[in-house]
Amino acid sequence: MDFTSFLIQLLNSVQYGFLLFLVASGLTLVFGIMGIINLAHGAFYMFGAYIVWWLFGFTESLTLSILLGVPLIMLLGLAIERLAIAHLYQRDHLYQVLLTFGMILVLNECQKIFWGTDFYSVPVPEVLSGSIPLTENQVYPVYRVFISIVCMLIAAGMYLLIQKTRLGMTIRAGASNREMVQALGVNINWVFAVVFSLGAGLAGFAGMIGAPVSSVYPGMGDQILIISFVVVVIGGIGSIKGAFIGAMLIGLADTFGKVLVPDFASMAVYATMAVILLWRPQGLFGQSAH
């Protein structure tokens, strides 16, 4: 592989990794703070993509669609949290897995009822549709770079939120000791609702901004969910830092896997997971006693 191809794949890895990070961070936060495994998390990603496609039909503007869509997804997240997730707080993981599995079935079917089973595409905005020349005859799409930059800004924003704000402090405390936070009188229900909606919003946003690149199709939520699980397991449950590193590792494994070992591309991701777990069963930044 020559240097330019390598660079292109690297850029693709990073872009994919960033999108994965957005989705995985919601998943890991929800588990770390609320102790809930939410299998339906991928549905937010999927609904994000579908909503942006749907809104684009009216607005003809990706930006506007995203601006309108994110609050919608967060609202959906809030509704799901209040109606279904709130019943799971004291229950076994087994029941959480099953209930959210039931939710996937319902949400996937709702998507088919509303929008059918076709593949849809969302066009890249004019202004971002150009390409950056890398060499004489190889270019790289501006939009993909744009995705990476936006995700990077969001990641930085999340870092600031978690490290520098009061809410972030509560979130960090909750991730390491939920009972203590509750005992301190923080309105834990409110915190949970916020965290869940935030996670949903992040996943939805990833679906929206990634739609021009990945298309919009049934089952896209399931796919990204499993990979996000792998990211969270690798990074360590409850760790945003872990989700970031894990997402980048998987981005690399998946992208380079597809190029280097195309017949076993998907397995590259799981092989990476197996190797890391062999070395650290609790993930890179997870706590050992859980």
């Binding site: 588990f31 495994i37 279904a84 019943h87 993981h93 087994l94 029941y95 897995v97 099953l98 209930l99 599995f101 039931g102 939710m103 996937i104 079935l105 319902v106 949400l107 996937n108 079917e109 709702c110 088919k112 009822i113 399931d222 499993i226 699980f229 792998v230 969270v232 397991v233 449950i237 017949d263 076993f264 591309a265 998907s266 397995m267 799981y270 092989a271 997971m273 197996a274 777990l277 062999l278 069963p281 609790q282 993930g283 997870g286 859980h290």
Partner: protein, 329 residues
């Protein structure tokens, strides 16, 4: 600890008698359906061994169910016929090996990590078969030739005959149930129940719990492989969907629906789930939607499942205070 009351035993025997007597009354369609549900019952019991009796919530159990079917398909690809006396052990052997490898990684973790890791490994196998064009890719493959029980020219049981196959599956179900009962009453079974109830204490008593969990995982996986073998024999198809997480979720659902840790419950759950699914497909365009709602409802309102219903109802009836107007439940 695992024990069944005399009443339960009698009811189970009664149900078995019903199952044995049914075939003349069932058409081909329902005969096949009940055969399939008995196979799912075996699959569900194998998962109950893990979830209900060892405390291991595996979300990738379908991997073993589907893998076994694929091995059958692969072995039968270029032959007219083969002897089941080596084909079945081969399928079970590969499945056991896979559960050894996956189990070895997985039992080093616990709780949610275990759930996620088993899911991820199952997905790995799913993608392996899904992207493998030689094996039919996402469409899977037909299994035209089937292994037989024939020795030389003596063929005692014709597995191709659906009627006969029904009884073969019924006997398999009974043997699986009895085998698991034996296992649970044996020293091994005592230890895994201890692990499920209180793993720390079990370890403090001197048991190398990780080893027991691994063995349980292998037994459960192999039994799931047996169910998968029967399924592939029955339907003559194998596809990646058999390994998918929807399949894993569905079987987990039948275990909860039937009653975790009861052993017979999951078989009841398989039947309930199976009939519901069959009915929904007839009455609506969106069966999955209603299955999803059903799953949610069971988790919220029926956590002890069908097998727990008699006890739940009894407790609910006892709750009525004596001075109550006597309103019917």
């Amino acid at each position: 600890m695992f024990r069944t009351s005399l009443t339960t035993n009698l009811i189970l025997i009664g149900l078995l008698v019903v199952l044995a007597a049914l075939p003349p009354f069932l058409g081909i369609y329902y005969g096949n359906l009940v055969t399939r549900l008995m196979i799912l019952g075996i699959f569900a019991m194998s998962l109950d061994l893990l979830i209900g009796f060892t405390g291991l919530v595996s979300f990738g159990h379908a991997a073993f169910f589907g893998l076994s079917g694929y091995i059958l398909g692969i072995l039968m690809m270029d032959t007219e016929t083969a002897s089941i006396y080596w084909v079945l052990p081969a399928c079970l052997g590969v499945t056991a090996l896979a559960s050894l490898v996956i189990g070895w990684f997985s039992v080093r973790t616990s709780g949610i990590y275990f759930i996620m890791i088993t899911l991820a490994f199952a997905q790995m196998l799913f993608y392996f078969f899904n992207e493998n064009t030689a094996l039919g890719g996402s469409d899977g493959m037909f299994i035209f030739a089937k292994p037989t029980l024939a020795i030389g020219s003596w063929n005692p049981i014709d597995l191709e005959d659906h009627h006969t196959f029904y009884y073969v599956v019924l006997v398999s179900l009974i043997l699986s149930y009895l085998g698991l009962r034996r296992l649970l009453n044996a020293p091994f079974g005592q230890v895994i129940q201890g692990i499920r109830t209180n793993e720390d204490r079990t370890r403090a008593l001197g048991f190398a719990t990780r080893r027991y969990k691994l063995v349980s995982f292998i037994i459960a996986g192999t039994l799931a492989g047996f169910a998968g073998f029967l399924e592939a024999m029955h339907t003559s198809i194998i596809s990646p969907a058999h390994l998918g997480w929807h399949e894993s979720g569905n079987v987990m659902m039948t275990v909860i629906l039937g009653g975790i840790g009861t052993l017979h419950g999951p078989v009841l759950g398989a039947f309930a789930f199976g009939f519901l699914h069959d009915w929904l497909q007839d009455v609506t365009q969106h069966p999955t939607l209603y299955m999803g709602i059903f799953v949610i409802a069971v988790v919220l309102f029926l956590p002890r499942g069908i097998a727990g219903l008699p006890a739940d109802i009894a407790r609910w009836l006892r709750r009525k205070p004596p001075g109550d107007g006597g309103s019917p439940p």
